[in-house]
């Protein structure tokens, strides 16, 4: 959807940024004046701000940190909260953002992940969740197993949209059941010890809509389905699909329009059947 370009009568606009110097340190706000150019996105705004490194009141400051990769909304690394809503900064166009009456941009890091610095957050929990539900195709052999089974057209049409997930974090940021977990590194703690503690802290917390959806994707992949029951067991483990409270924010904010609540209901059904089989069946 392309909106009418902002009919620009301004020469500059303000950008308020919630900054943080490092993990665990307090956050603070800084305001910047950015010269208006047409067709800017939030990344280009951040580039200007880094080049200036000067606040609206003329004080020198450190460059604001952010991260980005693809610049075309497929890698997810530039996700942040822009004017109160979580989205990708590379596809957030200034002309659209200033479209309202408010001529200000407000940039914040995602609130559900630990801040590394400024707008950069640690998204490790997202990838840990994928590990927790074994969201992959299990092939651990060097032998040529021949071609895999064919996937029907109908199944492809269900699977493809799910495979578009870029692990950006939007759905988790907007989910009221997904709450922040932050483990602060102890003095002199080794990477291995720290990672172990972090994973332990993550492993009982909600896996989030994205991992549920990915588990459903790999459960409908013909080879991935070999460990379907195992995944269902993991999906019903601590922090599993049962934590969802059906607020359905995830599906509304997902930039890839992935049918997350359909995946959640599919997971709910599959887990129900799995548990009945486990308790009353032979398997």
């Amino acid at each position: 959807m392309i909106k009418d370009a902002y009919d620009q009568t301004i020469s500059s606009f303000t950008v308020r940024i919630e900054r943080q110097d490092g993990p665990g340190s307090p956050s603070y706000w800084e305001t910047f004046d950015v010269t208006y150019e047409s067709d800017m996105n939030v990344i280009s705004v951040l580039q200007r701000i880094a080049a200036m490194s000067e606040t609206a009141t003329g004080e020198k400051t450190t460059p604001v940190a952010w991260s980005c990769g693809c610049l075309e909304e497929v890698c997810g690394s530039c996700t942040m909260v822009i004017n109160g809503k979580v989205r990708q900064s590379c596809s957030a166009l200034v002309d659209n953002l200033l479209d309202g009456t408010d001529q200000e941009l407000v940039l914040q890091p995602m609130s559900k992940f630990p801040v590394v610095r400024d707008l950069v957050v640690d998204r490790q929990r997202i990838f840990r969740s994928l590990q927790r539900v074994e969201a992959w195709v299990p092939v651990d052999t060097y032998y040529d197993m021949g071609p895999g089974p064919k996937v029907s057209r109908a199944q492809q049409e269900i699977n493809y949209p799910l495979s578009e997930c870029m692990s950006c974090g939007c759905c988790m940021e907007a989910c009221p059941q997904y709450t922040k977990v932050e483990v602060v590194r102890a003095d002199g703690e080794s990477d291995a010890d720290y990672d172990k503690r972090v994973n332990e802290a993550y492993d009982t917390q909600f896996i989030g809509p994205q991992a549920i959806s990915q588990a459903m994707l790999f459960n409908s992949h013909p080879t991935g389905a070999q460990i379907a029951e195992e995944r269902l067991e993991l999906l019903s483990g601590p922090g599993g699909v049962q934590v969802c409270g059906n607020a359905q924010n995830c599906v509304t904010v997902c930039p890839k329009e992935i049918p997350l609540t359909t995946s959640i209901a599919r997971a709910g059904r599959a887990v129900t059947v799995h548990k009945f089989k486990k308790w009353f069946g032979k398997s």
Binding site: G84, K85, A174, P176, Q177, T179, K196, E200, D203, T204, S236, G237, P238, G239, G240, Q242, V243, C244, G245, N246, A247, Q248, N249, T252, V253, P259, T261, T262, I264, A265, R266, A267, G268, R269, A270, V271, T272, V273, K275
Partner: protein
Amino acid sequence: MTQEMSFFERHEFMIRRLHSLSGLIPVGAFMVVHLMANASINNGTESYQKIVYQIHSLGPAVLVVEWLFIFLPIIFHALLGFVFIFQGRSNVSKYPYQANYRYVAQRVTGMIAFFFILWHVLQMNGVIHADWFRETIADPIGLAQFRPYNAASTAAKALQNPIVSGLYAIGILACVFHFANGLWTMGITWGVWVSPKAQKMASHICLGVGAIIAVIGLSALVGFYKVDIDKAEARELEMYEQGIKSGTILADPHKLIDSQRADQENH
């Protein structure tokens, strides 16, 4: 995972699913039957009294049924409900979407339902049925007002104050919304309605079911408000005496209002 998990963490799936189920069976099912029974007041004192006779034909077992199938499940569902409420962080101001409002409403109505049910049960039932409790605590502060063998008149008396019936209306609507919306979320939780189309249709059906139950629930309030209390008391006494004679009800003067009870105990 090497970390020690708590009981709640180890059994989170079962606990959440039992909570979900308990909202429908027995709590939700009881609520629907209860509201329908109350609505029978609109057919007159007798209809309502007869239903209450039927319940109390169980005799002392009523207490067991009450605790096992009503009080304990509600306590189970409500206590866990509060735990879940405090585990979530609602964010409707940032994400003002319809389903998100319903997520918050589900929690708000759950809490209203909790306090309403607590008050309602104390006011009508009183929980403790011993004479000493009635005389020293319940009667002076207006608890345990319902008498099963004067069902219509005592319920009506308790609901004459418009503030009380107003609060009842709020409580009933909160419970019904919570039940109807809970039915919808339950269908997703258990995987009954999966596709967006099915979820939408289910949402409309749950709304319809909720509207019908709300009308039934509120009609009872109107019905009780219209009861002529003196007439109802007289009719209830007649029914009691007839019932005792024909052996269709169990004699229990405790279940009568004090003015009639003294009389019956002297028989």
